[in-house]
């Protein structure tokens, strides 16, 4: 036992000044990182991306994504660009074909896919997909054209099959569940498959 207990032993302070000082020091350190990060980003996103070789003779000629995406509708994931919206709003106007004979087919038809377990049903918009892709990219592989015959499973999608061929690799990633699982089962009274009226 202590003979002369320190003043704080009677009424122990929960926390002294030390944690506060530590926090301030931490903040100062973080601020340096923050400033450093911002400056780096403005300087060059390719300089330290673990991909491009700054010694490459054409390193300086390459367009940087942060320059290219200026004015595009923003997203929170992927390229941080809402590509479908960018196309519809006219922020971009990518070519549909380079071979003059290629037929451009846009299909405005929604599907609702049931059998989604505890999740919301899936609304699949053909229009958004055919604005970018040709029918043959998805049909007959990996998706058969008749509703309910392809055996789509979420596990397979997560392994890069079906929707996962693009979503999670180049289109918005599979972390965005609700963008596909968007139809609440408790309010849906229609039939699965092709929807009578397109909803946009």
């Amino acid at each position: 036992m202590m003979k002369n207990p320190a003043p704080w032993s009677k009424r122990p302070k929960r926390f002294g000044i030390k944690p506060l000082l530590f926090a301030l020091l931490w903040l100062a350190g973080s601020f340096c990182f923050l400033v450093d990060g911002v400056v780096d980003a403005k300087e060059d996103v390719f300089a330290n991306d673990g991909l491009h070789d700054p010694q490459g003779p054409s390193f300086g000629e390459l367009q940087r994504p942060d320059e290219a995406f200026v004015g595009f509708p923003t997203d929170t994931v992927g390229n941080k660009v809402r590509w479908v919206k960018a196309l519809r709003d006219g922020a971009i106007n990518p070519r549909t074909n380079i071979v003059p004979e290629t037929k451009i087919k846009i299909l405005d038809m929604d599907l609702i896919l049931g059998n989604t377990g505890d999740n919301a049903f899936v609304l699949f918009p053909h229009r958004a997909h055919t604005e970018w892709l040709d029918c043959a990219n998805c049909h007959p592989e990996p998706f058969k054209e008749k509703y309910g015959t392809s055996g789509i499973k979420m596990g397979a999608i997560l392994e890069g099959k079906f929707c996962g061929k693009c979503h999670g690799a180049v289109a918005f990633p599979l972390t965005e569940c609700a963008r596909c699982h968007s139809v609440k089962p408790d309010t849906f009274r229609g039939k699965f498959g092709v929807q009578p009226v397109a909803k946009h």
Binding site: P5, W8, S9, P12, R14, F15, P19, L20, F22, A23, W26, L27, S30, F33, L34, G37, A41, V45, N48, D49, G50, L51, H52, D53, G56, S58, F59, E61, L62, Q63, P65, A68, F69, V77, G78, N79, K80, I92, P94, R95, T96, N97, I98, V99, T102, E131, W132, L133, D134, A136, N137, E159, G160, G164, K165, C166, G168, A169, V170, T175
Partner: protein
């Protein structure tokens, strides 16, 4: 003796809260590939040139997916296309556009062969692309 573990009236210190907040406000680490960048290095380094970096984002600003994945015949799976420089020079794959007509020509080797030595073939992505998929 003061033992913080015996202090039953503890609350979370504002300093600790502050620390936690500051930690989460730290900027995400830089040094990430752009989402859907593809590294092609099956032949490149073995042939003495840098690996190829194919930026999906750059191309989709200018072309819809179907131009390359339908008209040009690129399979939608890394490794499924045996892209050789000979085939490109022959007007296949990249060579369908990179011919000084649709896009700049093949004399600009280093615009594509721009990767760091030792990169492995595969699809990259700075943001959530690194899932378990067999892309």
């Amino acid at each position: 003796m003061f033992n913080p573990l015996q202090n039953t009236n503890r609350r979370i210190s504002p300093s600790v809260l502050f620390l936690v907040a500051v930690t989460f406000l730290l900027p995400a680490s830089s040094g990430m590939a752009e989402y859907a960048d593809v590294v092609l290095n099956r032949h490149a380094e073995a042939e003495g040139v840098r690996p190829v970096i194919y930026p999906h984002w750059f191309h989709r600003i200018r072309f819809r997916c179907k131009v390359c994945h339908h008209e040009l015949g690129f399979e939608m799976k890394v490794g499924a296309n045996d892209i050789t420089m000979a085939a490109i020079l022959d007007g296949k794959f990249c060579g369908m556009c990179h011919n000084e007509e649709t896009a700049w020509g093949l004399e600009h080797c280093h615009r594509c062969h721009s990767g760091l030595p030792g990169l492995k073939t595969g699809i990259r992505g700075g943001d959530k692309a690194g899932g378990p998929g067999d892309y």
